[in-house]
Amino acid sequence: MLSNLIKRKMFTLLKVQYSNMLEYRVEIALWAISGIIPFFMLNIWTNNNLNESINISDVMLSRYFLCAFFVRQFSVVWVVFSFEEDSLLGKVSPYLIQPLIPFFRYLAQHLAEQITRFPFALIIAFFFFIFNPESIWIPNLGILFLSIVSTFLSFLIQFLIQSIVACLCFWTEKASSIERLLFIPTLFLSGLLAPVVSFPAYVKSWIYLTPFPYLIDFPANLLSGNETNIRGGLSMQNLWIFLLFPLFKKTWSEGTKKYTAMGS
């Protein structure tokens, strides 16, 4: 009964948000294009033969960065910015009255955006293959499935972290600066700009204990067929979700208790 209700609500939310996103499809296409940094990075790596020192061939590296692009496309999260705006403008209050945690709304928003983004990402990948025909490959179905799962898990980890940060809006009203702070290590340590294997040893010794390499490096390695510890990576992703989820629930319930309707 309960799960059925959530399913129906989720379905409706998804439908609404999907049509909303389709309305702004040009903007989403631009967002998709803005995510091509990994390709620039690929150029730096291969044009200067930097990859020789880390024992990854040109082809494997180009696959890696293409996959990093894809993983990033489907794990972009902006919940804290939406929530902060809604909270500052007093829009959270009507959401709180509804018999649904508002974060389901944001979750549906993100998922709908990913569906809208999918064709654009495919087009960009198509152009990538035109310029790099030697890097075309077809991952087998099992690996494809696992990497979709791990990309989704990466999305969930980031969504949970940002939702926890978003809940801080109940205390500080402006929490997006904390998100911008967290974005810096995400950008530099997740493997978007350089694969984690290339990091110096003093970073590699502790980085695998943080969530960052599991956000992009792990799914991208998995999908591109580079060497990676599949079981270890997936279990670390799950571990982080299990750690973050109770924390999110806690901050959410504390925050709603603390909340005094802003702006309304």
Binding site: I44, N47, N48, L50, S53, T172, E173, K174, S177, I178, R180, L181, I184, P185, L187, F188, L193, A194, S198, F199, P200, V203
Partner: protein
């Protein structure tokens, strides 16, 4: 266009936007830490590129640092004066509040360019320091300029 009037209006804009930025003090503090970290991050990335190579495209590490520094300064300038206002225009159009701006007795373009905060950009200061550092390796005199500049800014 009356220059003195607009200077006065700009002063008011500066005042109000600084005041509204300073309303969220922790926000500013966190932003400062972010600026420092992002600088550390980009140097980290550069050091990865250079860890096994002395040169990339004919550039030494120190030279790449200068480019990085100049880039971040320009980026800081756009982020400070242009970006916040540009995104604001979009919001005004979508929410229908553009009318209020058009009705104001100042030039609308002027309003859009200057009404938003020159958010405090620590990155700018940090980068000046870095660039001068890199230059001073070659021109020792610059080190004196740098230290005196730093004394000025504090």
């Amino acid at each position: 266009m009356n220059l003195r009037k607009y200077l006065k209006v700009y002063k008011k804009f500066l005042h109000t936007s600084l005041a509204s930025e300073l309303e969220y003090k922790t926000n500013i503090l966190v932003d400062l830490i972010t600026a420092i970290l992002s600088l550390v991050g980009s140097i980290f990335l550069l050091s990865i590129f250079f860890q096994n190579n002395g040169y990339i495209g004919g550039w030494r590490f120190e030279q790449a640092l200068i480019i990085q520094g100049i880039y971040t300064i320009l980026n800081g300038i756009t982020n400070t004066w242009f970006n916040p206002n540009l995104t604001e225009i979009v919001k005004h159009i979508r929410e229908g509040t553009l009318d209020f701006v058009l009705l104001k007795p100042v030039d609308s373009q002027f309003f859009f360019i200057f009404s938003m905060p020159p958010s405090i950009d620590l990155e700018l200061i940090l980068n000046l320091d870095k660039i001068l550092d890199a230059f001073s390796e070659r021109f020792p005199d610059l080190h004196i300029v740098k230290t005196s500049l730093f004394k000025l800014s504090f």
